[in-house]
Symmetry: C2
Subunit: 443 residues, 2 copies
């Protein structure tokens, strides 16, 4: 006997679907605007426990970090683009930001001016009421300002004047003064950006490419975020492997540099004679960029040498080109190093080891194709972190890194408000120290 299987009547299955869908939508909504975990702490500054304006914020509800971007006077943003172009414009906001290696300031600014619905996957949300903000973003084009200042056809433009007026404007803001700039984020990608006013902005989280021009109490891994240069070379989209990469090692750049860059001339002398090494002098020009692209896309390894400072754009050009970076820059700091283990796709050489005749090429020739392929695969996965145009690339990761600073920012704010000023002028520093155990790294 075939038991009569009652077909579920139409209306009840509709009800089931509707209720499951509604619970699911609640789940998605809560997850988009909040990180609904019942137990872990939130990253919010403003809603600080025992904060006078709020009753207690109980740890347990994550939510996106709220960032307020100042409406800066246009002379700190589009006005700089206008100066760079050398022509007066009726509507500066229509001007196009010029391409160069420190475009981070432009991409971060555009990220925050995009409609929220387009800012997919961002760990932050822009707020327009400063009273709601956890962090305050200062979007001045401090790197482009340096380019305009360096003798471009400006209207007698002065980067130092821009810096002074920016900081005076900032210091007139109630929200800057409230916590002495601690909860502010300032982009200063070029190592020389904001140099003149650094002592007045050093409390803020600085977005920088290295610390070489900063004192220890001005910039550090603990307070600030190391950001990538915006790579100038197109990403390599060809096949992985070594077949197409007939050249062993590639480098193009200035031969003579200050400070840590002195190693360049020495290495030029050692490597120029090697037949499968291309090491050429070259300054920034459209033509040379084509030569660099050609060189990086057809080489197995790309040499990264310290320049005036330890960082340089070519490291990110190399990663985009899937050309294994060979880094000879002892003091280099690298972006996002808490989530990226650079040893998985780069080779670090001690400066003095690299200067031994034949050392570099002998070492690189020994690296097996399989290993190079492995390096390339890792680079292919990780290069989105160095792509400012990627939907979940450099911009989102920079905001994530900034968000991770919030606990220390909040601690410093509360502590400095009750701390008794110590006698003596030494800054009172909390540090994270490294490498006292004398371990010899690199090769």
């Amino acid at each position: 006997m075939n038991p009569k299987i009652r077909k579920p009547n139409n209306s009840s299955s509709k009800k089931v679907t509707v209720s499951v869908l509604s619970v699911f939508l609640v789940f998605v909504f809560v997850n988009t605007f909040f990180y609904p975990s019942f137990y872990s702490d939130s990253g919010s500054i403003r809603r600080n426990l025992v904060d006078s304006r709020e009753s207690f914020h109980f740890p347990g509800n994550f939510r996106k970090t709220k960032v307020y971007m100042y409406e800066l006077p246009t002379n700190f943003t589009y006005g700089v683009i206008e100066q760079h172009g050398g022509e007066k414009s009726d509507d500066v906001t229509g001007l196009k930001y010029p391409g160069h290696q420190h475009m981070h300031e432009w991409y971060l600014y555009s990220d925050l001016t995009r409609p929220e619905v387009k800012r997919v996957g961002s760990p932050i949300v822009r707020v327009f009421d400063p009273a709601e903000a956890d962090l305050f973003y200062v979007s001045a084009f401090s790197s482009l300002s340096l380019i305009v200042d360096s003798g471009r056809p400006g209207f007698g433009y002065s980067d130092e004047e821009m810096q002074e007026s920016l900081v005076s404007w900032l210091e007139s803001q109630e929200w800057w003064r409230r916590n002495n700039g601690r909860d502010h984020v300032i982009v200063a990608g070029d190592p020389n950006a904001l140099k003149r006013v650094m002592d007045r902005v050093k409390n803020a989280v600085l977005l920088v490419t290295d610390f070489d021009r900063l004192r220890a109490d001005q910039g550090s891994l603990v307070k600030d975020v190391i950001i990538p240069y915006s790579h100038r070379i197109d990403a390599y989209e060809g096949e992985l492997g070594v077949k197409q990469r007939t050249n062993l090692l590639f480098f193009m750049g200035n031969r003579y540099r200050k400070d840590g860059g002195k190693v360049r001339d020495l290495l030029f002398k050692l490597l120029e004679k090697e037949e499968d090494v291309v090491i050429k002098r070259g300054t920034q020009s459209r033509e040379n960029m084509r030569a660099v692209k050609q060189g990086m896309h057809t080489s197995k390894f790309c040499l990264h040498l310290a320049g005036d400072t330890s960082s340089a754009c070519r490291l990110f050009d190399a990663i985009a080109s899937l050309c294994v970076p060979v880094i000879v820059s002892d003091g280099i700091e690298l972006p996002f190093e808490d989530v990226i283990d650079y040893r998985k796709f780069s080779i670090f050489l001690r400066r003095d080891a690299a200067l031994k005749p034949g050392f570099v090429v002998k070492k690189l020739r020994k690296v097996k194709p399989g290993k190079i392929l492995k390096y390339q695969k890792v680079m292919k996965e990780v290069r989105r972190y160095f792509d400012y145009t990627h939907l979940n690339g450099s911009v989102n990761e920079i905001w994530r890194q900034v968000t991770k600073k919030i606990p220390l920012i909040k601690l410093m704010i509360n502590r400095e408000k009750r701390m008794i000023k110590r006698d003596g002028s030494d800054p009172q520093c909390s540090c994270l120290c490294s490498n006292q155990t004398g371990i010899i790294h690199g090769v």
Copy 2:
């Protein structure tokens, strides 16, 4: 005409309830073991991007921090309790941990030995496979060991020997050596705990009550976590307000102390004569604890003076007693200061201001009852953070603070593995500096 309202037949409403419940259970399950947000970064060390054992971990799924607690030889835990008791025991694990002001090590150890289902609201989950762990917890009873060593009827016990053997055991562990101790958490609550071996454990996250006995490269707010003493005085459960608190100011403790504690004798002289101030000498005894409880529960303000070090248990006794702390300890560090703004319920006085005759009592007498009530309300809300027995108290907050260190821990691990050792012996430090702007705080 009364439209016939079709009563939903029984089975379809059952179906709706079942499906909604099942979706909800999925939601709760995912939230208990994961923090399911689609976009933000995870705090995991082990699953480091580009980590060789794992394919890429993509930012987007939070999950609880995984902590592995070493199964230490019992001489580092229950063996210390046995020594403290002065009698040999057949089963040391049955012994009761003695009460004292540094019981944090016991509460953290018991938290991790409790069944997971009881560890409600914890931001961490204990794992029993070290390969899975993000962090490694070393539960040695380093503070009790100091008490046993200080002349108790032990069996010729030596705390320094315990320290040496603990660190030798630790250095023999593969997981310690893997990242040079960076991903380890060690409790050392007593300011003198693990002092002899500090240079060999300084890479780890230290759980300490102050940094006074540590060099800047051994301990700091950036690397380590300031934890509360376990308060000895019962929490005040009576009515808020000043009626029952007839006494203005209370202090009981040693009159003569080293270092920062010299202020005590001076203040004794100034305050002894004030009729509504109780300032008495007293060492740790059961009887004195009753007197302190009586004093703190019936006073509006409780004086916290630096002792041998800047921190002391009485600050936490005062908070538990809802007795407004008056802190005269310039260099004091305070637990959980990123989520707690101590100015909301404490009064900070500069040392030299406090030593002006009449200054302290004049200032406290001016504080209005309404203000004292406000301080008490805030203390009542915040004191669970200083209660090691509270379900969501000190223990959970310590684990949350430890979890917030993970990004910097991961960064240091990756960085130190590729960093070239610098010439010269100075430690290479990344710092967060404070108070160079000469702002005078306190009163």
